[in-house]
């Protein structure tokens, strides 16, 4: 009965949507949280059930009904459960549950309360469909469903012009990715004949797909993934998505939706490994995004924007993992990232809640005295993401970097390391500026500065707990062959590539390097912002251009606008005014005018004089007789 997992939140969303207006707030929050809790329970049960199932008959599939069937295109509504999807369901429902609880407090006095929870449940439903879909079309349904929910939730406070704009931008950029995704699906349908994952894996193993075709399909699918997971070309929507309520950012733009791309790549891992080149591209794009986003995060002053860029960069890491063939490591980083990134977002949310809506770091400082619970949890999150040992971030990021190194992708590995330094730096810059140093809080925010209610802080604690222990699920191989439970659990789905063994010593060396990198990043942030607060201003003064470039996010938004949006809109306006109105309408009205002009000319003969009439008659006769003669 694992197929109940998505249906429960879906049912609750439907009930809230139709009857929401008349239900009291209390009931709404209970129903929303309970439905996610129930599906979390079921996914836990089915996770353990899965352990017992022999690997051979692994993807347990449940077909509800035949959805679309026409000619050779058929897509059934069938859900499947296998290690990969069960992990994702755990993440989605688990983190989702905590965020639901958190938002009960956060959105307590918002008038769109019912609407908010409807959208949140709808999102969970769509995400679960995406994760548990047994064929590509159903995955695409979930894919677009989450896109819709992100549009609804980003533009939740639609009175705000910027929120509505951000929502629209998110949806359209996602659609660009989805267009490529559809083409990828079609290619697979053309070659494999069906969208089911089992059929696809069978076809790949059977060698039906050539390497070139595999590359094309993989790249198309990856283009869709960049749209959804905010990678290099199509990441512009994520920073603006911070307009939405913070729990939304936590759930959608940190833990679940943006990781859909990574899930899709790992689901289609055979395709990517088969095509080699595509894996390389994924790796490089991931690495570039990691560095690129990290640099941008350096200069941001809005907490949520910093976290947004940090999400883009962390997902970059996941794609590095997938790119180098270490899909398990990528998934593991996704698993750990879900915890500490949502923790950071929720903590930022409770900071905002405390300062009644203030997000700008320059107007904070020394908050650790006032927020006894938020501060430590935020700190744990920051340490985890920085990659400090003994916390989850370190294990997953290190796994990815060691694999990259093992596969001989030194360039990617180097970029990864630099990204790690920057990550550590901007995270602790954030921590020091908000919680330490002089208080720069404005007066009116200061009076009712208060710690968030228990309903918000409890999830923070739980998430902090998980951020710590989540790492131990996938210990590095150096500590013992069997240590990495996580990747072994995923083996049936992700066929492990050739296991390259570095010497034990190099393993340790790599671990030390990443630890050193993390610590030095933290130290630099400490020097910059606590020891001598003057240094950042001096650096900015020396490199004003560089600072300005970073601060304005490399002007990417403006470039996109100028390169695509503006010419498209103005171009079609020009075409409409000239071609549509002048040329086509011109010809139509022109012919009408010509005929009526001809009428006028012919009418001139009708002069009213009898003689003219007889003249015309005579002309007729003469022409007729003349014609007869010749």
């Amino acid at each position: 009965m694992f197929w109940l997992i998505p249906l429960l939140p879906g049912a609750s969303a439907f009930i809230l949507a139709v009857f929401g207006k008349w239900l009291p707030k209390k009931y709404v929050s209970w129903q929303a949280c309970l439905s996610v809790f129930a599906s979390f329970g079921i996914s836990l049960v089915s996770f353990f059930g899965l352990l017992k199932v022999p690997p051979g008959s692994l993807p347990v599939i449940k077909t509800l009904f035949h959805w679309i069937q026409s000619g050779s295109f058929n897509a059934d509504l069938s859900l499947q459960l296998d290690p990969l999807s069960s992990i994702m369901t755990l993440v989605v429902t688990g983190v989702g549950l905590l965020i639901h609880v958190y938002s009960v407090g956060y959105m307590a006095h918002d008038k769109g309360y019912q609407r908010y929870f409807t959208y949140l449940n709808l999102f969970t439903f769509a995400m679960l469909i995406l994760v548990m879909g047994a064929n590509l079309v159903l995955m695409f349904v979930g894919w677009e469903g989450v896109g819709l929910c992100s549009y609804l939730l980003i533009g939740f406070w639609f009175e705000k012009h910027s929120a509505a704009n951000a929502g629209k931008k998110a949806f359209i950029v996602n659609r660009i990715g989805d267009a490529a995704f559809i083409l990828g699906i079609f290619f697979i349908f053309l070659i494999v004949g069906s969208g089911d994952f089992r059929a696809i894996t069978g076809a790949i193993e059977g060698g039906a797909i050539t390497q070139g075709m595999a590359t094309l399909i993989a790249l198309l699918l990856f283009a869709g993934a960049t749209g959804k997971s905010a990678q290099i070309p199509l990441y512009v929507w994520l920073p603006d998505a911070m307009e939405g309520p913070t729990p939304v950012s936590a759930l959608i733009h940190a833990a679940t939706m943006v990781t859909a791309g990574v899930y899709m790549v790992s689901r289609m891992n055979l395709l990517f490994t088969l095509s080699g080149v595509a894996g390389q591209v994924v790796g490089i794009v991931g690495a570039l995004t990691a560095i690129f986003a990290a640099t941008m995060a350096l200069t941001q002053n809005d907490i949520k924007r910093v976290l947004a860029y940090s999400t883009i960069s962390q997902i970059g890491y996941m794609f590095i993992g997938c790119g180098v063939g270490a899909y398990a490591a990528g998934m593991f980083h996704l698993f750990t990232h879900a915890f500490f990134k949502s923790l950071l977002f929720l903590a930022a949310g409770s900071v905002m809640h405390a300062l009644s809506g203030e997000l700008d770091m320059r107007k904070m400082g020394g908050l650790r005295k006032y927020l006894p619970l938020t501060y430590p949890t935020f700190l744990i999150g920051a340490i985890a993401i920085a990659g400090v040992p003994f916390l989850s971030g370190f294990f997953s990021k290190d796994a990815i970097l060691t694999h990259a190194f093992a596969q001989g992708q030194y360039f990617i590995w180097a970029l990864g390391l630099m990204g790690a330094v920057l990550t550590a730096f901007y995270m602790f810059r954030l921590v020091f500026l908000t919680f330490f140093g002089p208080e720069r809080i404005e007066s009116h925010a200061k009076e009712h500065l208060h710690e968030s209610p228990r309903v918000m802080t409890v999830p923070l604690v739980i998430l902090a707990f998980f951020s710590i222990i989540a790492g131990y699920v996938g210990l590095p191989v150096v500590l013992g062959e069997k240590a990495n439970l996580f990747s072994r659990f995923l083996d049936p789905v992700i066929h492990p590539g050739p296991e390259v063994h570095l010497g034990i010593s190099t393993e340790w060396l790599l671990i030390l390097v990443s630890v050193a990198v993390a610590l030095c990043g933290i130290y630099i942030a400490y020097v910059f912002y606590l020891k001598s607060p003057r240094t950042p201003h001096r650096i900015v003064a020396r490199f004003p251009a560089l600072y300005k470039l970073l601060y304005n996010k490399y002007y990417v938004d403006e470039v996109y606008n100028a390169a695509f949006v503006k010419p498209l809109v103005n171009g079609s306006q020009v075409v409409y005014d000239n071609f549509d109105l002048k040329v086509i309408d011109g010809t139509i009205d022109g012919t009408a005018a010509a005929t009526s002009f001809a009428g006028k000319v012919l009418g001139l003969f009708q002069s009213g004089l009898v003689k003219d009439y007889t003249l015309v008659l005579l002309l007729g006769v003469v022409i007729f007789l003349g014609y007869l003669l010749f």
Partner: protein, 100 residues
Amino acid sequence: MIPVGYFFSLSIVLFVLGIIGFFVKRDLITMFMAVEVMLNAANLAFIALAKAAGSPAGQVIVFFVITVAAAEAAVGLAIILLVFRQKKSIKAEDMRLMKG
């Protein structure tokens, strides 16, 4: 014996004269008389051709045409009279109340 051709060509000439008369003259009555000339020219052609064909039927037709021309003249002149009473002029140029 004058060959039939001469009569025939005379009638054609008369017919064309009638047409020219119709266009040259400015007042209605002479225009109507020009039409009468054309009709009689046609009669002449009839007689010439009947003589050539040697059948009396041709000549009989001429009488029909003459009677018809007479009836037409009666009604025509009455109309010209009517128009004169209305417009106080029988010049062809004044008859251009309706055009377009």
